[in-house]
């Protein structure tokens, strides 16, 4: 589960993916953010696009932060699925930098496609060159996008952009748009090497 606990405004500044996600979302739509942390993304989307946003979060401190920030939050464990939500009941379902921290990856992606008319997934690219160097040097990768030590990381399912492309292909998921970034800049050349953050948009089922 998500462990973003930083101060609300600080989070907005640090998260270069927010502006891209906002570009992919139409104003005044109904948005569900899975693993919403302190609600920073939803707050940003509410303020810039007037979306009707809801977050799902399991961590007590984050739920409290969302309520303090005036973000609609539903406390539940993502791993239990989204059985409380009707099919196609949200315009957009977002999994922002949380994919790598969930156990039941396949189930959650399928659930997102069931509940959302559109799906956005972002994750830190394990294939980023700094991570590759770390491993060559004999250590587990650490970077701005992977800030934890191996022993305290919430991440359990790290993948590269290449891995995720294969996952989508083998699960019948059609990618409508893919954007790879490093420090807020778009990476077009060798994205699986030079990109630290991958952002995907899926076509509706």
């Amino acid at each position: 589960m998500n462990t973003k606990t930083s101060n609300f405004a600080q989070t907005v500044l640090e998260r270069s993916d927010f502006a891209v996600i906002a570009r992919w979302i139409k104003p005044k739509t109904k948005v569900l953010d899975l693993g919403c942390g302190d609600g920073a993304l939803l707050g940003y989307l509410r303020d810039t696009l007037q979306v009707s946003g809801y977050g799902i979060e399991n961590d007590d401190a984050n739920v409290l932060a969302c309520i303090k920030n005036g973000i609609n939050v539903v406390q539940m464990n993502l791993e239990d699925g989204l059985s409380g939500f009707e099919a196609q009941s949200f315009d957009v379902v977002i999994l922002s930098q949380t994919l790598q921290a969930v156990y039941q990856t396949e189930r959650i992606v399928q659930e997102m496609l069931r509940v959302g008319k559109e799906v956005i997934v972002t994750f830190p690219n394990f294939g980023y060159w700094r991570h590759r160097l770390n491993i060559l040097g004999g250590n587990m990768p650490m970077s701005k996008s992977l800030p934890h030590q191996w022993y305290n990381t919430p991440n359990v399912h790290m993948c590269t952009i290449h891995d995720f492309d294969e996952f989508c292909a083998s699960h019948g998921i059609r990618i409508s748009e893919r954007l790879v970034m490093t420090n807020g800049n778009k990476i077009s050349w060798l994205p699986n090497v030079f990109g630290s953050l991958a952002m995907y948009r899926f076509e509706p089922r």
Partner: protein, 380 residues
């Protein structure tokens, strides 16, 4: 909240409001006139916009917070949440607690004198519903010149009233805090209520509800009803932790006297309750719980039922509450989400079962406090 200025509301005094206009009840019966006893904490602002209504549960009263005298050892039933610097901050809000119609703590109820007969109402006191309570509470709000509540809140049966406020008077509630509640009772819950009622009704001293004339009280029935209730308000774990298999005496006596601490606790609670609560009120409170089902007139579609609610919601449940389980609160949340209402839901990890809503758990109070700060911020 600063620790230094956290304080109880101190000494409080209940007030009584009389209503001489008849009240038509959901059952079709009409109450020609009635009294409601209530308490208030904090100061009503000039715009009358800082008002919180706290609705009570099965055995609750208007005495939400504070004490009646310096010697009074037992504060109101939700004292830990009301006061200066507490989640329901009396420096910001004007808080009202009201004893519901059919109650036995001052509001008109079965033990009250029916003016037409000059006898206690007894068995003739009508069956009241959650909707009737809300209608009566609205009369009190009218009398106090309060058009809109900043928030209406309650736990358990009180949470049902908070929910019903948003349906009966969508324009008069800005926020609803629905805590440890459910959109209706499960069959198991109705079953518990029925056992409690049967304990009372089959007590020879119940006299079909007109025991007042016989100068007796169906104590055995009330006592059993309360003992059963207490079992269901606690979790297995909480009971185990508090009592376990601890014995009252050094060794068992091979008797049917009190052997275990658990038995001692239940008997104490049962006796205490039987000495202060009205049997007819207990029957009516449990019936109000049984009947409450806002989705019933929408073919069970709770989303359709809640479509008329305009309030913003905070829904809270407790993991070990098996009488009003988190799954039931999630039904409310789901229906509100489907209506795109502003809603947050906290599912609190708590060991105390249904009673957790009365406990001062830090995360629970922090959530309510954070939410109420927002409510306060909107007050003009």
């Amino acid at each position: 909240m600063g620790m230094s200025n956290v304080a109880s509301v101190g000494i409080v005094t209940p007030q009584t409001a009389h209503f001489s206009e008849p009240l038509a009840l959901k059952s079709g019966a009409v109450l020609p006139a009635f009294d409601l006893v209530y308490e208030t904490y904090g100061t009503l602002n000039a715009e009358r916009s800082n008002v919180i209504l706290v609705c009570h549960a099965l055995s609750g009263t208007h005495h939400v917070a504070g004490n009646y005298s310096e010697e009074d050892k037992y504060p109101g039933w939700w004292d830990n949440i009301v006061g200066s610097g507490r989640p329901l901050d009396t420096d910001k809000f004007f808080i009202i607690g009201v004893n519901n119609l059919g109650g036995c703590h001052g509001s008109t109820g079965p033990a009250s004198i029916d003016p037409t007969t000059q006898q206690p109402w007894g068995s003739r006191f009508p069956v009241v519903t959650v909707e009737d309570w809300v209608a009566a509470q609205a009369r009190l709000a009218d009398k106090l010149g309060i058009q809109t509540f900043a928030a209406v809140m309650g736990g358990s049966l009180g949470g049902m009233q908070a929910l019903q406020w948003t349906l009966s008077f969508p324009d008069r509630v800005r926020h609803a805090l629905v805590i440890a509640a459910a959109p209706n009772l499960t069959a198991q819950n109705i079953a518990f209520n029925e056992v409690a009622r049967q304990a009372i009704i089959t007590d020879p001293e119940f006299h079909n509800g007109d025991f007042y004339a016989h100068s007796v009280v169906p104590r055995r029935g009330l006592r059993l009803a309360r003992m059963l209730g207490h079992i269901t308000y606690l979790s297995d774990d909480a009971m185990g932790e508090k009592f376990g298999r601890k014995l009252k005496h050094d060794a068992v006596k091979y008797s049917f006297d009190v052997e275990f601490e658990m038995e001692s606790y239940l008997r104490y609670q049962g006796d205490k309750f039987a000495g202060e609560f009205d049997a007819n009120t207990y029957l009516r409170m449990t019936r109000a719980l049984d009947y409450y089902d806002p989705a019933a007139q929408y073919n069970g579609d709770l989303s359709a039922a809640l479509a008329k609610a305009k309030a913003q919601f905070l829904v809270i449940s407790f993991t070990s509450d098996w009488r009003f389980s988190p799954a039931r609160s999630r039904e409310i949340v789901k229906a509100l989400l489907e209506n795109e209402r502003t809603v947050s839901y906290a599912e609190l990890t708590a060991a105390h079962g249904h009673d957790a809503f009365l406990m001062p758990d830090p995360q629970y109070h922090a959530i309510v406090n954070a939410y109420m700060q927002r409510v306060a911020g909107e007050i003009v």
